[in-house]
Symmetry: C2
Subunit: 105 residues, 2 copies
DNA sequence: ATCTTATTTGGCTATTATACCAAATAACAA
DNA sequence: TTGTTATTTGGTATAATAGCCAAATAAGAT
């Protein structure tokens, strides 16, 4: 594999890795309905403020979300909403898997 | 978040995590063109046999690929090819990111 | 049966990710 | 200024991942 292709896959993996966590997938889903401040996430889920803040940083560093400061609060929003379209295929994998398990039983 | 939603995001994260590695993304790309045996991957990339084998196991456990033994060789194939469609959006994130960096410079 | 080739498995180490706590910062309010 | 709220940052313990080597297994060839 040449260097160009290597870099391509590394760049893609970085973004996909940023999505590869249940809490972050939930955050992405929530952001579909519009921007939200950090405290709104903390309210809705049983997690530490710092934990949510760090998850948001991971998404920010991957270029998936963006934020804006409004007074004391920081509002995050989806930068590239097509991210959500992928979930259809992920669900297809889950369904296909549950079929395979059925067959085995 | 209720337990059902928690499990949903965990199941999704498991699949996405399985994709979140440059070598595995490359494998997925290669499999688009049809099934391949382990040795074909080893030939094409500078990596150990056991490393590739373990990457394939990760994809198998996530339900993304499937395999079939043919004589001495094991052939892997994509089980749910829609996985590839996602890359379009991943590329959109990369492009959006490079634009943001341009603005900063 | 022995040899060879293809692949998986186990073990080890180095690196990275996660979650929680405490402390730091930032903005507004009193 | 001091206090309060929202958020980030740093530290640290723990768990997960990656890659390499050696050994184990499996199938076909001699």
């Amino acid at each position: 594999m040449d260097n160009h292709r290597k870099q391509l896959y590394e760049a893609r993996a970085k973004i996909i890795k940023a999505m590869a966590h249940p809490t972050r997938l939930w955050i992405i889903d929530e952001l579909y309905y519009g921007e939200k401040c950090v405290c709104e996430f903390v309210d809705r889920i049983d997690a530490d403020f710092s934990t949510i803040s760090k998850h948001l940083l991971v998404l920010k560093n991957a270029g998936i979300v963006d934020f804006e400061k409004k007074g004391k609060q920081v509002y995050y929003r989806l930068k590239v909403p097509c991210i959500l379209q992928f979930m259809g295929c992920v669900e297809a994998v889950i369904k296909s898997e549950s079929k395979t398990i059925q067959k085995k039983i």
